[in-house]
């Protein structure tokens, strides 16, 4: 026996004499698990890993970041300037990238964990409370994402949060007051940043740690679901402190389960590290409350489904109240109370056709809305003629009416994906002659006029471009087709 090992054992004994932790450690380490396992059972551990990543990188970021919008000597808001300062250093940029991607990983991992638990029916008696705490954890994770998103105080952050907090305003009666409370004023300001910062770094971590402790503690107390049939019925209540019995067909968590746990946590770590390395997050322009550059607000991908959903809502106040406030609230309540109203005792997916159908359709709807939202973030161009059209104005029209053939692919050699591509033209040469719409192939084609290249009326077989949009394009070409 090595002297170091001996010293360690003596230190542990000394500590245990005072803390009495040996029984708990033994029980946590050697609790019985089924011999057959799935890596999906360790998604909760992966979530804990991502949380540790968020905690460590968050503390590092907080040493430089300052939640203030007061302009620095260079005229940038302090919050924005400090994030820029963090990103100026390659290590700092990587730390921010880990934190940035960690947020997305957290949402994904926790969501997958919930799906797995739902699929195996692990929320049923006696683990109802574990599921309910899990739902609260999910909400906490979303709150983390929402409050953290504002902190860099760039255009993306500013306008996403403007819309996000405006949504709260649709809560009946108290909406406006609630929005004001969140923002610390009528609109966003330095007060909003410091509020969100306080919630993000002081309140939510405490809530999360407390909930995780309860969540994990209860899992240890009640054992994992798959072990249920193998454990004696009264296992949870009759067991003797510090004494672990391993029933037949089962194995102790250490070392049998720790392998899967470590493997999944390690895998998560590697994927996160690689993604964060190759896709470093940028920063848009500093928040401009006047939005002089016409930035188009768009939510982070995990709120995209809601953004997309709102596009389908007709323009009535109460329809909006329903879609923005009532529906999400009902969804969370439905999730929270699931173990109480799901009276089906069976755990096997074969005996739960309705639950499986509900799960599949929920996932399909969420994924579908997110996908559509991500691929149609450009709102249809306004039904008006732009005053001094620039590339950004006509680009929106192209994206709405020409994308299938001239952005996704370059039909006839013509791509309208960027200003340079559009000006370059296609196989028939330039399609835009600055200052001369009548000589521009593009304008002739969208107006269905005869042209030297015999291009048929565009868009071919698709929804025609509205007159207002055509007029915008005409004005843009007449003005010399300016990029800015």
């Amino acid at each position: 026996m090595s002297r170091l090992g001996d010293l360690g054992r003596r230190a542990y004994r000394w500590l245990d004499e005072r803390l009495g932790i040996r029984d708990e450690v033994t029980e946590a380490l050697y609790h019985p698990i089924p011999r057959k396992e799935s890596y999906a059972d360790y998604l909760g551990f992966a979530a804990i890993f991502v949380f540790i990543n968020q905690f460590v990188t968050g503390v590092l970021l907080a040493t430089v970041y300052s939640p203030s919008t007061v302009p620095t000597a260079e005229g940038l808001p302090t919050a924005y300037a400090t994030v820029k300062q963090i990103m100026a250093d390659p290590v700092g940029h990587y730390v921010r990238s880990l934190h940035y991607w960690g947020a997305s990983f957290m949402v994904v991992v926790v969501f997958l964990h919930m799906l797995r638990v739902f699929y195996v029916g692990a929320y049923k008696k006696p683990r109802e409370v574990i599921w309910m705490i899990g739902t609260l954890l999910f909400v906490t994770v979303l709150a983390f994402a929402f409050t953290g998103y504002l902190l860099p105080w760039d255009q993306e952050a500013y306008w996403a949060t403007m819309v996000g907090t405006a949504m709260v305003g649709y809560a009946p009666w108290i909406g406006d007051w609630l929005t004001g409370l969140l923002r610390g004023g009528l609109f966003l300001s330095g007060a909003t940043v410091s509020r969100f910062f306080a919630i993000h770094v002081l309140v939510l971590p405490m809530v999360l740690v407390a909930l995780i402790a309860l969540h994990v503690g209860l899992v240890f107390r009640l054992g994992v679901t798959e072990a249920e049939r193998m454990l004696p019925r009264d296992w949870a209540t009759r067991h003797v402190r510090g004494k672990v019995e391993i029933p037949k067909g089962m194995v102790p968590f250490f070392p049998y389960g720790t392998f899967g746990m470590t493997a999944l946590m390690g895998l998560t770590a590697v994927v996160l590290a690689v993604v964060a390395y190759f896709f470093m997050p940028g920063l848009t322009d500093p928040a401009d409350p006047l939005n002089q550059e016409h930035y188009e607000p768009k939510p982070p991908w995990y709120f995209m489904f809601l953004y997309q959903l709102l596009k389908f809502v007709p323009g009535y106040y109460w329809a909006d109240v329903f879609a923005i406030v009532i529906l999400p609230l009902l969804a969370i309540l439905a999730l929270f109370f699931l173990p109480l109203y799901d009276r089906n005792r069976h755990r096997s997916f074969r005996r739960r056709p309705f639950a499986m159908a509900a799960m599949a359709s929920t996932v399909l709807v969420l994924v579908g809305l997110t996908y559509i939202g991500q691929h149609s973030t450009v709102a249809p161009p306004p039904p008006t003629v732009a005053e001094n059209p620039k590339w950004s104005d006509v680009s929106r029209i192209f994206q709405a009416y020409c994308a299938q053939c001239h952005i996704a692919t370059a039909s006839g050699g013509l791509s309208l994906a960027s200003y340079q591509d559009a000006m370059k033209g296609g196989q028939d040469g330039a399609v835009i002659v600055p200052g001369k719409p009548d000589e521009s192939l593009l304008w002739l084609a969208i107006n269905g006029k005869p042209n030297p290249a015999n291009v048929p009326p565009m868009p071919l077989g698709l929804q025609p471009i509205p007159d207002t949009a055509k007029k915008t394009i005409e004005k843009w070409i007449s003005a010399g087709a300016p990029e800015h």
């Binding site: 004023g185 009528l186 509020r195 019925r233 009264d234 209540t237 006047l290 607000p297 323009g315 008006t384």
Partner: protein, 164 residues
């Protein structure tokens, strides 16, 4: 159905053999609970008072330019305002029938920034549009643009808080 949990005696408080009346213990417990509850309430009230959003009425008039800048027939102009420390803006236009009006720069749907697009105001987020009087001409905006207090004093234009 078998309920294996039922034969496990419930430990804890109060012991089963204790008579149900206000004992010294009950009284102490109630007292502690009350004091704890009052303290929690006090802190919650303090926090709420501290974080309470400032009132609209406190917005002061702000000079945004001279009266000559806004003529009948000119397109609306976006002017910076600093209501309650949060920077924002108002589109100001002089209408033939209504005189000088100021619209808060945020769309009434979800407060995205709309812009003047030649013949109407249009919002990039969900496609709402408003005419020059602020009326909705394209959903989903549920209500007309919010108007802000606007006054002319000594040849200067001043903008205040939201009034509609």
């Amino acid at each position: 159905m078998e309920r294996p949990d039922d034969d496990v005696p419930l430990g804890g408080w109060p012991p089963e053999d204790e008579p149900r009346e206000v004992t010294r213990r009950t009284f102490l417990l109630l007292g502690m609970g009350t004091i704890g509850g009052l303290l929690a309430l006090a802190y919650a009230g303090l926090g709420l008072r501290y974080l309470w959003p400032p009132s609209q009425a406190k917005i002061e008039l702000e000079d945004v330019g001279s009266s000559d800048e806004f003529k009948v027939g000119d397109p609306p102009v976006l002017k910076v305002t600093h209501n309650q420390g949060s920077e924002g803006g108002a589109w100001i236009v002089r209408l033939k029938d209504e005189g000088l009006v100021a619209y808060d720069m945020h769309c009434t749907h979800l407060q995205c920034p709309y812009t003047w697009a030649g013949t109407s105001f249009s919002c990039p987020c969900h496609g709402s549009a408003f005419d020059i009087h602020g009326n909705v001409i394209h959903p989903p905006a549920p209500r007309p643009l919010r108007r802000r207090l606007v006054v002319e004093e000594g040849g200067r234009v001043k903008v205040g808080g939201i009034i509609s």
